[in-house]
């Protein structure tokens, strides 16, 4: 199973994602933003960071990178894509997942540990998460306030597009609509997620809950890779 991690100029969680997804059992390779070839990746991760400095709007400039055409094609063909933090912002700007990430309600960068309720377990991203289990992982972003017009939110919820919500005493850190922390595209193959599972992949770092997500993904990608 090969996982490709895209490096945009300004990505700063690319090495973290490579490290964690390798721990989860994948053959992890870097993908360069100017190279429109995914080099056989079964799974593509858009990592966190500040692609193009987050200038203008987070994710707005990265979405035009040559690699994003390949990512869009991969997704269109049913390939798995996970966008973490800035990667979520890039996916949203590119229209690969619904919604917009506005500035945090506090108008500040927010770092901290949050708890995520997992809304569905029948997805490639959450298959291994035990029932009833919430996931603890860090957030670190300035623009993570999830927004969609109300009617579209209703539609998103109705189709099961909300995958993670902020929960527990730590609460909603950024003012996201309906506490949404992560969403799925219509086919359920592309996921955008503000918190950082790759930073919660080893207990020495405070939590290994993120591993449940990454292992789910690696397992599903391996299965679908065989299928294709």
């Amino acid at each position: 199973m090969r996982a490709g991690v895209v490096i945009f100029p300004g990505s700063n969680c690319d090495r973290d994602a490579l490290h964690a997804v390798a721990l989860a059992g994948a053959d992890a390779i870097p993908l360069w933003h100017e190279d429109p070839d995914l080099h056989g990746a079964d799974l593509v991760i858009l990592p966190g960071g500040f692609s193009y400095g987050d200038y203008l709007r987070a994710g707005a400039l990265a979405r035009f990178s040559p690699v994003m055409r390949a990512v869009a094609e991969h997704a269109a063909a049913g390939g798995l894509v996970l966008g973490i933090c800035n990667g979520f912002q890039v996916l949203a700007e590119a229209g690969l997942v619904p919604g917009v990430l506005l500035r945090n309600a506090s108008l500040r960068f927010e770092h901290g540990w949050v708890r995520l309720a997992v809304e569905r377990r029948d997805t490639p991203f959450t298959a291994l998460v035990p029932d009833g289990r919430t996931l603890r992982m860090p957030i670190a972003h300035g623009e993570g306030c999830y927004h969609l017009p109300d009617a579209e939110l209703d539609a998103l919820e109705a189709r099961g597009g909300v995958l993670f919500r902020y929960a527990g005493p730590e609460g909603n850190p950024n003012g996201s609509a309906r506490d949404i922390a992560g969403v799925l595209d219509a086919r359920g193959r592309v996921c955008g997620l503000m918190p950082h599972p790759e930073r919660a992949a080893e207990s020495i770092l405070g939590s290994d809950d993120g591993m449940l997500l990454l292992r789910s993904l690696v397992t599903s990608a391996a299965a679908s890779g065989v299928a294709r």
């Binding site: 700063n12 973290d16 490290h19 960071g49 987050d54």
Partner: protein, 781 residues
């Protein structure tokens, strides 16, 4: 750039008549205007250390593990396995006073460049911040801007901020301090020095283009007192571009890893002038600069502007000619402008040429030589001033350890509720939770952060090993104001203790000396005392000083800052799973106090809050006892004897106990013998003490170890419950071995109320809880 009849050019540039004579002597002729401008920035205090050099020579710098010491961009110490750690502290005080967001941001950028220039990947940032009264609108504006700036830059480049300090003291009202420490990790074989060896080699400038920003920043901002005159001297503000810095980090490390550079130097103060003269001087070579080849951001820049511009995010690489194409290719890949701007020569001169240079660095036919200066004259052979030091007439020297101290004010004795005092201390702006700050910093990027901020030292694991690096930064302005020797020495001791309580071995020390004008004998005396304090403490604790930074002229019309020696220490934990944390971990554990404090409330937060007899001295510092305590802590940690450990510092024993308790969610019932006065015993900040919790079954073992190290150990209580109770014993029972001290009135509070006071304190002090002025000006982007 020109002088007038009334003010000749050299004086307008801040060069004294005496300095001009020294320049003429080194050149054997009068300097032209460009040369004078180059001298003026290089002979600024910031670049030349012309006042502090003789003092800095007295610091101990040797040690087995030192790979690179003072003089390089950062200190480097070996941590085994072929790995080394690079670390350094630097100030960006005056730029932050002018423009807090950009000043702090570019401060972070500058210190990070010092780290990756050496071939180290930056792995952590710590920020030592000092401001005036948190209730004043100006302070609030500065705090908000500086914190946003540190975060705005550090978060974007992807280096976790894992520690720091936030101190409020009235002396910083007009002159805040922004000291930033950066830590990096490198393979020793990749260590890269900032030298320009090999005549014929190329000098390649890469990163951002050169603009008019920060013209004269180093010399003028950092070397002048803020006052009416300082206002006009303010140069163009530098704007940081962390995105460019991130690309610069990746490109620089790639160049080093691929073996493409012979030397690498970042551009900071004094820009290209500093980079070429320092690298040439270190290698005993010269450099010919092709002025026209320098990529510019603006049209019509004068040669002197190009040569001294402090545009951010630039690097200078010294490269073998056959590798130049490969270097340029790496820069292109990372989207960074790069240009060959000069050649290394054998003549020891910095030559600035317009019109092109030949392969050997000589001017092409028809080209003009605009400046020609011996590299040494600009750097190692810069002028050194013998400044006059004189102690203030009325001063209180540090008390000697063990001397009896006169009783001082002691509020709890006057019928004041000690529980209320503890709540007030926990809520004090200087002691309350820093979460309002640290939430704005990415502390977990890099997937190596084991412990960050809030509680104690930052802890970073070293991937591929079982090791951990532990880091902290401390200063002690309040004590420094009373006795600058003691303030500096105590900062070293406290910082080392912060490292040692985790079980780590402190490796080495970096520092930033923040003082007033060296031209004032009293301020220069303070600087001398501070350096002496650092040297004494480092010798006693066996720690080398591997680098640092000097920031003088920290004065405003309102006066000088409290003398502030900011200390940074990195320690090594050989086995990360031996890490000891500060929070209580289990009910029923024995609570012990290691070390014994003396009396003296001078310089404490309690004194500021409650007021004390102005003649009450600060507590004494016993460096030998401190060294023994450090050794004990390390051995106790390796034997896994400690369930938790936390040093006693700001707010004293009561605050330390409260923090251990509410961080762990486990209370404690304690009894403390009354030694000096209730205020001293509960809230005094005597150094050399640690609160630890221990499995009762292993207490005897710890006690034996403590005895062997000659460190006093006293069991003061037991963990458990959801309250913190501290009974004060009768002085008569102070000699009693343990337990039953006759009570003298107990402090008794729930963990919930203690925690709430601590959590709300800072937002409340800054007016953030009630809503305050929020600006959308540029810092918000």
């Amino acid at each position: 750039m020109s002088g007038t009849a009334a003010t000749p050019l050299h004086r307008a540039l801040g060069v004294t008549d005496e300095e001009l004579a020294a320049i003429v002597e080194r050149l054997g002729r009068d300097p032209n205007d460009l040369e004078l401008a180059m001298f003026s920035v290089m002979w600024s205090e910031h670049c030349s250390y012309k006042s502090s050099k003789p003092l800095l020579r007295t610091l101990p710098t040797g040690g087995d593990d030192v790979v690179a010491g003072p003089g390089e961009n950062a200190g480097v110490m070996s941590i085994g396995d072929g790995l080394a750690v690079a670390f350094k502290l630097e100030s960006h005080n005056h730029p932050s006073a002018v423009e807090p967001y950009q000043g702090a941001a570019t401060g972070v950028g500058g210190i990070l460049r010092d780290i990756f220039t050496m071939g180290a990947r930056p792995i952590a940032i710590l920020d030592g911040l000092k401001f005036g009264d948190p209730a004043s609108p100006r302070t609030r504006h500065l705090v908000r801007g500086v914190v946003r700036g540190v975060g705005g830059y550090g978060n974007c480049v992807g280096v976790p901020t894992v520690g720091g300090e936030l101190v409020f003291h009235p002396s910083y009202a007009e002159n805040p301090l922004v000291n930033v420490m950066a830590v990096g990790l490198l393979e020793e074989r990749l260590l890269t020095l900032a030298a320009a060896p090999g005549p014929g080699n190329l000098c390649i400038l890469f990163g951002s283009t050169t603009g008019r920003d920060g013209i004269g920043g180093a010399s003028i901002l950092a070397s002048a007192t803020f006052g009416a005159e300082g206002q006009q001297k303010r140069p163009t503000v530098q704007v940081g571009d962390p995105f460019a810095e991130k690309l610069l980090i990746e490109a620089s490390l790639e160049l080093i890893e691929q073996g493409l550079v012979e030397g690498l130097q970042d551009l900071g103060a004094a820009g290209i002038t500093c980079a070429v003269s320092e690298t040439a001087d270190r290698a005993k070579t010269g450099i010919a600069v092709d002025l026209d080849a320098i990529p510019r951001r603006e049209e019509g820049m004068e040669p002197f502007e190009v040569m001294i511009s402090e545009s951010q995010e630039r690097m200078l690489a010294v490269v073998l000619p056959e590798k130049a194409e490969a270097v340029l290719a790496v820069c292109r890949r990372w989207g960074l402008p790069a240009a060959t701007i000069g050649r290394v020569t054998a003549d020891g001169l910095i030559t600035i040429v317009s019109g092109g240079i030949a392969d050997d660095g000589s001017p092409l036919p028809g080209a003009r030589v605009l400046a020609r200066i011996p590299a040494a004259a600009l750097t190692s052979d810069a002028i050194v001033h013998a400044r006059v030091a004189s102690a203030p007439t009325r001063r209180r020297p540090a008390p000697a350890p063990g001397l009896p101290v006169r009783q001082a004010g002691s509020l709890p004795e006057r019928g004041m509720d000690s529980g209320a005092v503890l709540l007030a201390l926990l809520a004090d702006a200087n002691l309350a939770s820093r979460a309002w700050v640290t939430r704005q910093y990415d502390a977990t990027v890099g997937t190596d952060t084991v412990e960050a901020s809030e509680r104690a030292a930052g802890v970073i694991r070293v991937k591929g090993t079982r090791k951990g690096l532990v880091m902290a930064t401390d200063a002690n302005a309040r004590v420094g104001r009373i006795d600058p020797w003691l303030g500096a020495a105590m900062a070293v001791a406290e910082c080392a203790r912060n490292i040692a309580v985790t079980g780590a071995r402190p490796l080495g020390v970096t520092n930033c000396l923040n003082y007033g004008s060296p031209e004032r004998p009293e301020a220069f005396w303070e600087l001398g005392e501070g350096v002496r304090g650092i040297a004494d403490a480092c010798r006693a604790l066996g720690l080398p000083v591997t680098g640092g930074n000097v920031s003088l002229y920290n004065e405003s019309l309102a006066g000088a800052i409290a003398p502030t020696a900011q200390i940074g220490i990195v320690g090594l934990l050989d086995e990360l799973d031996l890490l000891v944390r500060p929070a209580f971990r289990a009910a029923g554990d024995a609570v012990v106090l290691l070390g014994s404090g003396g009396a003296g409330l001078g310089g404490s937060i309690y004194a500021e809050l409650a007021g004390i007899d102005p003649d009450d001295p600060p507590p004494a510092l016993d460096l030998a006892a401190e060294a023994a305590l450090l050794r004990l802590l390390r051995e106790a940690a390796s034997a896994r004897l400690l369930r938790s450990a936390q040093d006693v510092s700001g707010g004293g024993l009561a605050v330390a106990l409260a923090e251990c308790a509410f961080w762990g969610g486990i209370g404690a019932d304690c009894a403390v013998p009354l030694h000096a006065s209730p205020a001293d015993d509960l809230f005094g900040e005597a150094p050399g003490r640690v609160v630890a919790s221990v499995d009762p079954a292993r207490l005897a073992e710890l006690r034996a170890l403590a005895e062997r190290h000659g460190v006093p150990l006293r069991r003061i209580g037991t963990t458990g419950g959801d309250r913190l109770r501290i009974a004060l014993g009768d002085p008569a029972s102070a000699t009693a071995e343990e337990g039953a001290v006759a009570e003298h009135g107990a402090l008794d509070r729930t963990l919930a109320e203690l925690r709430e006071a601590w959590e709300r304190g800072l937002p409340r002090a800054l007016g953030e809880d009630a809503g305050d002025v929020v600006s959308v000006a540029s810092e918000e982007r």
